[in-house]
Amino acid sequence: MMSSETLSAAAERLISRLRTQADEFELNVGEEELSSTRFARSCIHQNVSERSFLVSIRLNCGGRIGTAAGNQLGHEDLDSLCALATEAARRAPPDPDWPGVSSFEEISPSSSFDEETASCSPNRRAKLIARIFEYLPRGALAFGGLTTGWREQLFLNSNGVQLSEKRSVSEIRMTAINGLRSGYSAQAAPKLGEVKLDELTEEAATRASLRGSPVDLRLERLPVILSPYAVARLLEFVAFLGFSGSQYSEGRSFMKLGQSVTGELVSIWDDGGAADGLPISFDVEGTPKTRVDLITNGIATGLLYDRRSARKAGMESSGHAVPQSEGADPYPANLFMAPGQHATDDLVGKLDSGVWLTRLHYVNILDPSGPVLTGVTRDGTLLVKNGRIEKPANDVRFRTNVLEAFASAIAVGKDRRLQLQTMFGSISVPPILISSFALGDGLS
């Protein structure tokens, strides 16, 4: 891997050019390596590794803003990128909402980099995956992927702010398929050594090995236990639809600050520096990430801001700016839901009659103001009777007002599962027992 000195040298070259060309500038310079070994039908069918650099510049020339991004670190390429950004700024109209660049001087970078994870070889990943295949019961096939990687990020701006951070990541997702039955498990961690492969294989295999042919679920509202995978999927959409200050100020958010928006068992926050997630210390504007309590015991208590939306709202940025190419609204990078008191088995034990939902597929938005989401279940939809998981069920479609569903929570599990979000960032959530969830339109 290229040394930090090389990234710093590239940044210095850019600064030397931009100092005379721009009134203000922000630089993000980074290097990333990501390797994934995928498997299907208990065979390794795709095995990849990529290395890339990112250089992005945003600058202010007389109140006009321009942006340029590239991936080459050669001197000519960097000079060309500066020229592009400057040209963009000179052509742009004045931006009355430009908030200026940050002026934070010190942060505590996260300590989540693990050399063993970053340098994990293809052979090691293949060996770990082969272990999954061996562990599965006869007749079950494994599908999924194991990913390891690292990223180094430098941020510098015209106020003299210089921030750097190096992070590693590992993730396993697996589906065990046994005839018509399937089970799923997943986990992310900064260190590969923290990924509990045997337990995860057992989890997926158990769901796929439940005896009996899948039964149809009737169209109705039922008590359900949402696994951490299902909760994560729903919460990602909640975050996407309404946790930002920009959505709130435009009237696009469901959040009503100071008011109850869901049940009192539900507390949600984003905390970039939290070590029990995938920590990240600063955003693309060089603002340190602060903990934001978004929903506290069901009450809407906070919003996420970047510098632009913060200025408009008369607030301080919370460090949740995202790259423009990812979309404009601030978004959580290390999202948490508060755990409860109950072991997962205890949650099941509380159900006389209901359903365990392992995974939700193709969730999408029907009404952003609810938010009301639709989707289908998969990989472990299980009938629960008399406090025990009894038999598999056929997958079904659901429609739900997510916050209303969370408001009907009876109990929250104590064991959170850390996962990667679909867009970017991480999420750590527990299972939840919900008294009323609308299931229907059986898929058998």
Partner: protein, 486 residues
Amino acid sequence: MADTNSDPSILSLALRALDTATSRGARYADVRVVRRKRESLSMRNGNLEAFEFGEDIGFGVRVFRAGGWGFASSSVLTSNEADRVSALAVSIAKASERAPWRADFEPSPGLEASCEGPCEIDPFEVSFERKMELLSACDEAMRQEPRVRVALGTLDFLREERTFVSTQGAEIFQTILDSGGGLRAIAISDGVQQQRSYPHIFGWSAERGGFEALLRWKLDESAARIAAEASALLDAPSCPEGEATVILDASQTCMQLHESLGHALELDRVLGMEAATAGTSFLTPEKLGDFRVGSELVSVVVDPTLSAPGSHFYDDEGTPGSRAVLIDHGRLVNYLSSRDTAAAVGLSSTSCSRAQSWNRLPLVRMTTVNLEPGSLSMPEMLADTDNGYLLSTTRSWSIDEHRLNFEFASELAWEVKGGELKRLLRGPSYTGTTPTFWAKCDAVGNQDSWATFSVSRCFKGQPGQLVRVSHGASPTRFRDISLRPT
């Protein structure tokens, strides 16, 4: 940065990577170098929120050894890096042999070609003032509507230069240009939001070509209309619930085609290669030839030779693009495929091996997948519909992992009574099961009503890849569809 397709150092780097892969034991190897140049403008409520230039370049090496595949990529364009990446790709392939995926793989022949897509007006040469003038005019028109709280307009241009070489002797250079953008008006009142988009979902579509392609959409002529419609939707009654005759406009039909047929026809899904993530397909191989996916009016083709985003002259394993029928008057006859997936079911590749860019492994992806036009003009289809609803522009979509059970929501519907458009309705959604739904198709619009639309971010794979795909379709009519309000 020099044009990669005329830069000998790029070809030299790619050939060196091939040599290294071969010397390290690869039975087959190919190398892709891709350079992307991008310009995008985003306006929000009169403010140019983003004006960005982007350029990136890199290369990817794919190798096949005794039984395993390996892929490695890098953005560092040096000989040393070419050697490192090739060696890594081979070692990855070797690691794959621990549990190899058996694949019959016949590589594409060693073709040599140099191709360039259409462009009359280079969008990168069009003045910034001209682009701003267009966006500002649209923005002003949308914000004339008082309840439109968010007016969004985007323009974006993407040029790609692709170099492909293989151990079979292929040397293929392609240059393509896509011009895209669109508008979205979001009206908000009393906590209720409604939106209208043009020309396609979330206010974006693209065409293959230069600035002239963008001008054909006449964005400025549609801005006021979509703002008025977004506002009107706030007061419109909800779509009723029940079984109904539904006409999907061309944009909505394209999304229906994409989600319920396009993805189902991806052969890697059929073979279980995406079971853990995107899912599988109900169109299993024993259904080839006999299975009825839709009515006699439903014929679907893949045609990467049509000039549209997602199309190509050669795919990312060097297979020439060609037209292929996938669904022939309702019957399944072929798949979207790559060389190894096609071989697994005794077919030939339909040139659908595509990667997001240099950095990712090619997967089976849609290119330009079209519903063949029928015989009715839009006025004729409406006149022939006594009682029903015309749905326009997808707002939400969801489908199960096998591509069977779906729920789609549109931005709006118009009531159709006695062959005429009547009330505007908000929040229409409909559900169905793919083959049952398409079997109820009893009318397909003619060539005059046929239009192409693009999807900008079709997601698949792990690590995830976003590619552009295109679809051409006319309006379609379906009987006895389960309709309900969102």
